[in-house]
């Protein structure tokens, strides 16, 4: 099979799975329905590996023309280059593990087949997003994952207590994403105005080869609006508040949205458009500072969350902030490296939390957990690995990928490096707090809950183990040059192979003793926090406080810096107020009253109508008109 056919097959597989489960899934046994959805994912992953291995040059696959009207050409084309292939691997690879996990996790759920239909659809939309060869296809996938995430977040819509809340969380996610989508759409229009095409290659060609430079204002506007789109999908300030709420969905959904798919869309968009962003230093700076602020704010909020999934959710937001800092510095391959390792350990952590929640009979409050390590040993070990990886523990994947971004920051501006270090330290603090509170100490839940504690079945623990291994060795993908010279920066070289724009950006080289110093600092930091956390939570067995015992800063963190309340006050309430006022004052008060007056007047004066009868008008017509009036009046009187 040619690469083209393989790519089409990869794209078609999840769609096929969704079709099967969507139509006849209801009548299939759960195992079959889940196996179909999971099976297509694993096949898609295997095929993606084949595509990856045969990667040579960039390919465009033409599917069909959507619309061709004068100068506007919108085509459904796919593009295979190293960037899209790499995303393909992440999406199908981590995606298939999450599917496998879901087979166990959702086994008690009535809407089993529906869940897998949505999951497959989600993957399909995400594949369109990463495989499309133009911004229009990207937008297709972009909105597509929005719909699927809506369906998945609101999956338990009929729950007695939480049904409506789940729906509201889903709607919030959809609407916030829509605000970002509007930004992206404007970005697309600006690209069309400037370049006359939405094809990545056409735009890249004009900038990189023909040397066409848009005006500074135009470059700024285009990239700024693309970035607005990215803040929606990738949950950056100010559009990040949907992501923690999206935890309302079943846990595998959180893993899928947070780790492998949706949130990486914004990163992908910026990396894909790197040649545009390189023309707009102002946007890069905005991106950098927004990312920095998001990273800090989210890490701060995560410090005092007591819902196991909320901690992880804010952790995702914080890590995404870190990624945007990298993108703002032009460190695209470093960002992709961290996207990859983050996909590993964040999927691991979310699925791990799913396993914990499963064991806890759906309890998510860490205040009611504790000492779980002896009950769910596999989950414990793998969760520990995930925690160490995200905390930047030496030699684990997160250590290398984070370190690369930190090195760029140190090179870029030492101030930014220091702020990032604070964020990194906070990450280690809240992650170790989470780990120790859940797995160490004594069990704080009810006796009944305790009697139900059990390790998850193999189809749930197997993905954990695979992801744990990847979280450990993932760093090998892009080793820094100071350790091994051959084989270093493999991922960077791979991505630079044929991704437009990336090959032109000069790789940054640090002096090796400087790099050693930075690395040493990070190691000391993470080890130090681990030690302190151990002392605090294990030796002194500190537990999470209840709300009324929190000090000032803890309250701020626990209440998420009041972002929701502020947005409610600034946007939601005024809009609702406006809605009521428009209806009461303009609609009913002014427009209706005045029109009623006029119609009343008209209906009482046949005089006016008679005036039109000025000879030159055919009397036939007037008769017809009067006939209609007469008939209407007849019926009204008769009633």
């Amino acid at each position: 099979m040619s690469i083209e056919q393989l790519v089409l097959l990869v794209l078609a597989l999840p769609l096929l799975g969704a079709l099967i489960n969507g139509t006849i899934g209801k009548n299939l046994p759960k195992v079959v329905s889940g196996a179909i959805a999971t099976g297509v994912m694993f096949i898609a992953f295997a095929l993606s590996m084949v595509i990856f291995n045969s990667n040579g040059e960039q390919r465009i696959i033409h599917l069909f023309n959507i619309l061709s009207y004068e100068d506007l050409k919108l085509s459904a084309n796919l593009m295979v280059d190293s960037l899209s292939t790499w995303m393909l691997l992440i999406v199908t690879g981590v995606g298939s593990l999450i599917h496998l996990f879901s087979m166990g996790y959702m086994s008690h759920d009535k809407g089993y087949y529906k869940f897998f239909t949505y999951l497959n659809c989600f993957i399909f939309a995400m594949l369109i997003l990463v495989l499309g060869s133009n911004y229009f296809m990207l937008f297709f996938g972009w909105e597509g994952v929005g719909i699927c995430s809506y369906l998945l977040i609101s999956f338990h819509y009929s729950d007695k207590e939480k049904g409506m809340l789940n729906g509201i969380a889903a709607r919030k996610a959809f609407i916030m994403n829509r605000i970002g989508d509007l930004g992206l759409l404007i970005g697309l229009f600006l690209i069309l105005i400037q370049f006359g095409s939405l094809e990545y290659n056409d735009v890249a060609q004009q900038i990189l080869v023909n040397g066409i430079r848009p005006t500074e204002a135009m470059s700024f506007a285009i990239t700024l609006f693309l970035f607005v789109g990215a803040t929606g999908k990738s949950a950056q300030i100010p559009l990040f508040t949907w992501l923690p709420d999206a935890m309302a969905g079943p846990t595998p959904v959180s893993a899928l949205i947070h780790a492998a798919t949706m949130v990486t869309a914004g990163i992908f968009l910026v990396v894909r458009s790197n040649f545009l962003f390189e023309l707009a230093p102002t946007t890069q700076d905005i991106m950098l500072y927004v990312g920095l602020a998001t990273s800090l704010v989210a890490a701060f909020i995560a410090l005092r969350q007591n819902d196991i999934k909320k901690v992880l959710a804010y952790s995702t937001v914080s890590q995404l902030g870190l990624l945007f800092v990298a993108l703002g510095m032009g460190a695209y391959t470093a960002a992709m490296f961290h996207v990859t390792t983050h996909a590993f350990f964040k999927a691991l952590l979310f699925l791990g939390s799913g396993s914990v929640i499963h064991a806890m009979s759906d309890e998510q409050d860490i205040r009611l957990m504790g000492g779980l390590k002896k009950f769910i040993p596999i989950t414990h070990i793998t969760f520990l690995i995930g925690t160490l990886a995200i905390a930047g523990f030496p030699l684990l994947s997160g250590f290398y990928s984070k370190d690369e971004i930190l090195a760029h920051a140190a090179h870029h501006n030492i101030g930014i490096y220091l702020v990032l270090m604070v964020s990194v330290a906070l990450t280690a603090i809240y992650m170790f707090r989470l780990y120790f509170l859940v797995f160490h100490g004594s069990f704080r839940g009810s006796d009944e809950a305790k009697s139900h504690l059990h390790e998850s079945p193999l189809n749930m623990t197997l993905p954990l183990m695979v992801l744990a291994v990847l979280s450990v060795v993932g760093g090998l993908l892009n080793l820094p040059g100071i350790i091994f010279h051959s084989g270093a920066h493999w991922l960077s070289h791979y991505l630079e192979l044929n991704t437009a724009g990336l090959n032109l950006i000069q790789p940054m080289h640090l002096e090796s003793d400087q790099a050693m110093l930075l690395m040493g600092g990070a190691v000391v930091l993470s080890l130090g926090i681990l030690l302190v956390s151990f002392v605090v939570y294990v030796k002194r067995s500190t537990t999470a406080k209840d709300d009324d015992q929190l000090s000032g800063w803890e309250m701020l963190s626990a209440k998420k810096l009041y972002f929701d309340e502020i947005y409610n006050f600034l946007f939601v309430k005024p809009t609702e107020w406006l809605s009521k006022q428009f209806h009461a004052i303009i609609e009913i008060g002014i427009l209706n009253k005045s029109i009623n007056g006029i119609t009343l007047m008209l209906s009482h004066s046949g005089e006016l109508i008679r005036k039109w009868q000025s000879g030159m008008v055919a009397s036939y017509l007037l008769w017809m008109v009067l006939g209609i009036v007469g008939m209407v009046l007849y019926y009204l009187i008769k009633f």
């Binding site: 009929s158 007695k160 409506m164 509007l182 209806h583 029109i595 009204l636």
Partner: protein, 479 residues
């Protein structure tokens, strides 16, 4: 001619046939019309104009009997022929659907609509335009909700005043032309001042029918009191007469003043987009909610039409088709809720998804089509319309773009309030076969157009080009 005669003939048959057969004869009539239209489509070459009726007879008052179609007319005829059978299908198991009067009036409506879309004489256009008022009025009057009388008087007088203004404009034009045929009316060159008033007359008639802010106040209440079938006819087809009329009649007949009206109409359209959407956000009556959302959607279409670029015209057309299909779907869903729950109040609903999973599924599909997600016709239509408006000015495009966000807010709110949560009723009858067919057909069409809009643009492009080039030659000469 068969396009007009078939629905008329069947309307007559329904009126005299046994009552228990009327709904089937009505449906048959609409299907035969549909087949006739498809036959016309199969034989149609987009670059051509086809005559339905062409005589040299000129009446004493200069009216001619010219009827025919080109691509842009044919598409509206197709739309009519698709939507009418769907409406009759939805009514099969409703009380009004059993009535002779209802089925006859819907077919009479189809007759009138096809007349409007194919008339090539100013007065003939006016006659058909007015004719459509009768069946819709009677349907609403006979089968509407309790408090319909006051609402319908307002509706009637309101649209009637608009029509009269159009009639005056037509007559003023006709006085300067050799007859009322479309070609002759086109030839008239008006002094700017006269042109301004002529377009004003058309504008008033169309603005009321569409309806544009602030001429919309008849609409929410009429949509609410009319039976679902009537609301579908009004929103899916009748308002398209006005949008079509803008492209076919208003702009070409007085192109001299298009520039003067352009920004007025765009402004009103923009106000409508935001105003309708914001009011829809807090409505509790599901039909009123959809009515206000409709004001928001058509504001965008009207703005796209007066923008008058070739792409924005095509985009408006795609969006007209999309709006018609989605409106039928949404009002069907609202009608199902109203029928089975005996209320339109969203606060009294909830948890229906559990009781009626099929309904939940199809309502969700239609809701997503209504918020113009990818793979639906609304996505392409909105994308192209917003692009056009954005090219005109970025502020216009951005204000119009808020529909993306607001649309999601009110549509999903309506869906969630009615469907999510735990059930608040004992039972809710799930979809019947005819309702499923309607939802499925709409979905199929919406998705097909969403993926292959080229079919529509190819059909209408030559005819739109003709009008576009004509207007530009006129305005060029004027400049």
């Amino acid at each position: 001619m068969e396009l007009l005669l078939i629905p008329l003939l069947f309307a007559l048959i329904v009126a005299i046939a046994p009552k228990n057969l009327s709904k089937w004869i009505g449906l048959l009539g609409s299907l035969v019309t549909f087949i006739a239209v498809i036959a016309r489509l199969a034989a149609f070459v987009p670059t051509e104009k086809v005559d339905l009726l062409h005589t040299d007879v000129i009446t004493s008052f200069k009216m001619t009997f010219n009827m025919g179609y080109d691509g842009m007319s044919l598409l509206m005829v197709i739309l009519t022929a698709v939507v009418v059978p769907l409406i009759l299908l939805t009514s099969l198991n409703r009380s009004e659907g059993q009535q002779r009067g209802f089925n006859a009036m819907v077919l009479l409506m189809e007759f009138g609509l096809i007349g409007v879309f194919t008339a090539l004489d100013g007065l003939l256009f006016y006659v058909f335009w007015e004719l459509t008022l009768i069946p819709i009025f009677l349907i609403a009057l006979w089968y509407g909700a309790e408090d319909r009388k006051r609402v319908l008087i307002k509706f009637f007088i309101y649209t009637f005043v608009g029509s009269l203004a159009m009639l005056i404009s037509l007559i003023a034009l006709g006085n300067l032309a050799k007859d009322f045929s479309y070609e002759s009316l086109l030839e008239v060159t008006l002094p700017i001042k006269t042109a301004f008033w002529v377009m004003g007359g058309f504008f008033l008639a169309f603005a009321i029918k569409i309806p544009l802010f602030p001429f919309h106040t008849w609409q929410p209440s009429t949509y609410t009191v009319a039976p679902s079938a009537g609301t579908m006819l009004l929103s899916a087809l009748m308002l398209k007469m006005a949008l079509y009329g803008m492209i076919r009649w208003m702009i070409p007949l007085a192109p001299e003043v298009l520039e003067d009206y352009k920004y007025i109409i765009i402004t009103l359209g923009l106000i409508g987009i935001v105003y309708g959407a914001i009011i829809a956000i807090k409505q509790m009556d599901i039909k009123r909610l959809i009515a206000f959302s409709s004001i928001s959607h058509v504001g965008l279409i009207a703005a796209g039409i007066v923008l008058f670029t070739e792409q924005s015209l095509s985009a408006s057309y795609i969006q007209m088709v999309n709006h018609a299909l989605v409106a039928v779907g949404l009002f069907l869903a609202a009608g199902i809720l109203e029928d089975r729950l005996k209320t339109r109040d969203l606060s009294e609903m909830g948890g229906i998804a559990v009781l009626a999973p099929k309904f939940a599924f199809w309502f969700a599909v239609i809701s997503f089509a209504a918020v113009s997600v990818p793979f639906t016709s609304g996505f392409i239509g909105e994308f192209l319309l917003l692009k056009g408006l954005f090219y005109e000015h970025w502020i216009i495009g951005t204000i119009a773009g808020t529909t993306l966000v607001f649309g999601a807010v009110y549509t999903l709110r309506a869906y969630q309030l009615s469907m999510f949560g735990s059930p608040r009723f004992e039972s809710f009858e799930d979809l019947k076969w005819n309702e499923i067919i309607v939802f499925a057909v709409i979905t199929l069409l919406v998705v097909l157009i969403g993926l292959f809009p080229q079919f529509i643009t190819d059909l209408i492009e030559p005819s739109l080009d003709r009008i576009y080039n004509y207007i530009h030659s006129v305005t060029f000469q004027a400049a």
